[in-house]
Amino acid sequence: MATTNSSTTPEFPRDRLSNVSSAVAGPTDVAPETTNFLKIVRAMPLRVKMASLWLLLVVFGAIYAKLDTSLFGGALPLQDPNIQTNGFIRETGEFGTGRPIEGMSGSHWLGTDAIARDTFARIVHGSWVSLIVVVVSACCGIMIGGFLGSLVGFVRGRVETIVMATVDVILAFPALVLLLALVSIFEVRNLFVISAVISVLSIPAYTRVARANSLAISSREFVTAARAIGTKPSRILFREIIPNVLPTLLAYTMVAAAYVVVVEGSLSFLGLSVQLPTPTWGNMINQARRDIKINVAQVIWPSLALTVTVLSLNQVGDFFQQRREVRGSNL
């Protein structure tokens, strides 16, 4: 019968570490078949499918609009969002024949705004700002907030106390007020600045979510096992904790994105987002409200775009969070 020398730490083969983790059934490995895209789509209720479709449209529209202006010089079939159709046309030496606050027509599907710009084009172009702000804030939130949360949830101690106290202070402060204060620091407010400011404010929420998950995962068997075999903490963090926190963060991202869209819209409405004449849904609502008695549709179209997008993000986010919870409960 073979015996083990108890005075020495058992040497666990390094190449089997991941197998140990897997054997303890880390959450990422519970149901590998669910990564199948078609299965996910099939599992979606109709409202989530519709929401996803809308979000795809928004993303497509934003990219299309950006390509149109930056790559194709406005050659793609979408009107220039800043061209006033009643403005002076240098080539002809005359003013355009467009009219402000026009209703829906073949040439202007959603009508025109107070200075005769095409509302449809402005809504499509406006989605670019929302998209960029969402993507940047999500990336920053996941990378910085996610990492911080995972780290402090794993290492605990004084670092955790300091980081979470800071996070709590930031989260306790009214978000919009803090945002207004930060934005007002910058004289020039471009997409980079706005994205950066919103991203900074997104980090605490991601940190908290990541930390909560990190705490739970840190007490799992596969982490304990990894510790027991003497795996370096950094390796545990990057190989065991973060990969298991990430899916939760991604699911949270959709819900956070809805919040970010609303925040950017609020800033735009207050005239504190990207500088004019760049279209955003918020500044479109702000500019159209003056003429609400004449043509309420000019307020409704961008409001609808904003509302449906936020609703869609919530629907899709909820769907993925529920899937995540179900998977978690299966463990």
């Binding site: 030496g93 005359e94 200075i115 500088q275 004019l276 702000n286 003056r290």
Partner: protein, 620 residues
């Protein structure tokens, strides 16, 4: 309610731009006939929007004499009519903001605040319907030969709401308070007022440091002209704002900040109407701040208030639509005076220090399009000077000289500057110029800013950055207290002029902006922080000083015309349109347009949506 049948002379506004009236105006305006390039295939559209004429054919506009009504002017004619005056009732007025305070010497007021102040205070002078200054609480005022000493006689038997009698000493005692007040000190300085003495029971002598033929205009403005009880003010300055004491037609009853301020009838008011009936007619009047334009109009339409004020063309447009299209029972008392919108270039900041840039940018300013963006088509007139066509100071010569929209002309000026190797902004020849275009973040102003921005951008010669700062910051940037009042603005939205005497606005606007410039011009000490564009012209300054030292209208007219011509040539400022304002009321609220100065002449009406409430009544 008591009823008095009487004959009254009323200044009735016909509210000129009903749709039908617009058609007539469009047909009579001459533009359709004279601008064939603009009428092709659009005749029906132009008929619907007669004021949207191109600004390219200024020479073909019909000549307008100073003092005449012009096409598109919302002011209406004076008519005689039989009206039945009724005593009693209350009026609730929706204002665009809460009053900053109710102390004329301290609180810098704008239109909402004046509406309230004028209910409780009387002014020493007032403007009549011709714009001339007439004694109000004063009985007479006469200058010495060089306009450095003004002797005023007060009306007798006037008492404050607290029973204190108004005497010459009251006016003299007011002076130190005005000198120390935030609003009063500037007005005292601008009027060159150095002393106020009681030289009789009711005789007051004002002494100025230099001749001021327009000094009565200062007595028609709140900071110096509104009469308050100096003893009460000195005793409790802060409390005075909440419980103001004047000699006016109404007495403060309650003041609930940001909600409602109510005044009740002053039973011992000294004023009477031309038929000798005691004023005021109303039992009470209350003011409610309703900042949102749409909500304020809705409050009137729903009966929450029975009067409201607005200084926005878009709201006037919506109110007209509610009245004309939806049959709302409201009357719009519209006024379009000398006040005008537009902006300025900071001429101490490159590239605006070069007149070619200013001229180029001004030529790119399509006034008609800007007015349309402001919602003022058919409401506001394009402006070419600090006076509207119905002002006696208006000059056709200036109107013709003002740089009209001319895209290629503007491009030519800008190109010349850009290709100049010695260009002032330090950039290399051929590089685009940078322009920061700044306006407060009001949707109306944002729209008009973007019209200008597009025109600049379309040249391919101008990099435009649009910035929006709140009103206070916007003003602070232009004032530039931290950098010797030069300001850090570049191209800045601004309002110009008023219905006051031209001296009131032009004197401070044309004085040297900095100590260095003043010294260089041999005018040490004559610095004005209110010269916001920082443009100083010795000839214009001499003209404004000379105009202040004579009361001969023709001489003054010529001098102010020369200043306006220099503006048209050097363009330190630019214009969009004259500001239309309105007070909307229920149709049974009458008398806003027919108040009188004590001599029996009609008063000026309601400039800048500032009503005079003493002769307002509610018809049953």
């Amino acid at each position: 309610m008591g009823v008095i049948a009487m004959r009254r002379r009323g200044l009735y506004r016909a509210v000129a731009f009903l749709a039908a009236a617009g058609l007539v105006a469009g047909a009579c305006g001459g533009s359709d006939d004279s601008a064939p390039a603009d009428t092709t295939e659009e005749s029906s559209e132009e008929a619907e929007a007669p004021a949207e004429e191109s600004a390219e054919e200024p020479a073909e506009e019909p000549a307008v004499e100073a003092g005449d009504e012009a096409e598109g002017d919302v002011d209406t004619e004076v008519i005689e009519e039989e009206t039945t005056i009724e005593y009693g009732g209350s009026v609730s007025v929706g204002l665009e903001a809460e009053a900053t305070g109710l102390r004329p010497w301290e609180d810098s007021c704008s239109s909402p605040c004046y509406n309230m102040m004028i209910a409780v205070y009387d002014k020493l002078m007032e403007q009549d319907a011709t714009g001339a200054y007439a004694p109000y609480l004063a009985e007479s005022i006469t200058p010495n030969e060089d306009f450095t000493v003004w002797t005023m006689t007060l009306r007798g038997d006037v008492t404050f709401h607290n029973g204190v009698e108004l005497t010459a000493q009251t006016i003299a005692d007011m002076f130190p308070i005005q000198q120390a007040g935030a609003a009063g000190s500037g007005a005292v300085t601008a009027a060159n007022l150095v002393s106020v003495e009681a030289t009789g029971d009711l005789e007051v002598t004002y002494t100025l440091s230099q001749g001021g033929s327009a000094f009565p205009a200062s007595l028609a403005r709140a900071p110096i002209g509104m009469v308050f009880d100096p003893a009460a003010a000195a005793a409790d300055s802060e409390g005075y704002s909440m419980a103001p004491i004047g000699t006016g037609p109404f007495v403060i009853d309650s003041r609930d900040l940001d909600n409602e301020t109510t005044f009740v009838r002053n039973d011992s008011y000294w004023g009477t109407d031309p038929d000798g009936n005691a004023l005021p007619y109303l039992d009470s009047i209350s003011f409610r701040p309703i900042p949102d334009e749409g909500t304020r109009l809705d409050a009137l339409l729903s009966g929450t208030v029975n009067a409201m004020q607005t200084l926005r063309q878009g709201t006037i447009r919506d109110a007209r639509a509610a009245r004309d299209d939806d049959g709302a029972d409201i009357t719009l008392w519209e006024f379009q005076g000398n006040n005008l919108g537009g902006g300025m270039y900071n001429v101490l900041v490159p590239p605006f220090d070069d007149v070619r840039v200013r001229r180029g940018l001004t030529h790119l300013n399509s006034q008609e399009q800007v007015i349309e963006a402001l919602g003022g088509t058919g409401i506001s007139l394009p402006a070419t000077q600090w006076f509207s066509p119905d002002s006696p100071w208006w000059s056709e010569k200036v109107a013709e000289a003002w740089p009209q929209f001319d895209f290629e002309g503007g491009v030519a000026f800008l190109t010349e500057y850009i290709n100049d190797p010695e260009r002032s902004d330090g950039k290399a020849a051929g590089e685009m110029i940078d322009v920061e275009l700044s306006c407060p973040p009001d949707p109306t102003l944002i729209a008009s800013t973007q019209v200008v921005e597009q025109a600049y951008t379309a040249t391919g010669l101008v990099n435009v950055t649009i910035t929006n700062y709140d009103q206070q910051t916007h003003i602070g940037i232009a004032l530039g207290g931290e950098n010797g009042f030069v300001g850090s603005h570049q191209q800045h939205c601004w309002r110009w002029s008023s219905d006051d005497d031209p001296a009131v606005n032009l004197n401070p606007a044309l004085a040297p902006p900095t100590a260095e410039i003043a010294e260089a011009a041999g005018l040490a000490g004559a610095v004005s922080p209110l010269n916001f564009p920082n443009w100083f012209s010795p000839t214009a300054f001499q003209a404004v000083v000379a105009a202040n030292q004579t009361d001969d209208f023709e001489t003054r007219y010529g001098l102010y015309e020369s200043i306006m011509l220099e503006f048209a040539d050097q363009v330190p400022v630019y214009y969009s349109g004259h500001t239309a304002t309105a007070i909307g009321t229920d149709t049974n609220v009458l008398g806003l347009n027919s108040w009188h100065v004590p001599s029996g002449e009609l008063g000026i009406g309601f400039p800048s949506a500032e009503g005079r409430w003493s002769e307002v009544f509610i018809a049953s």
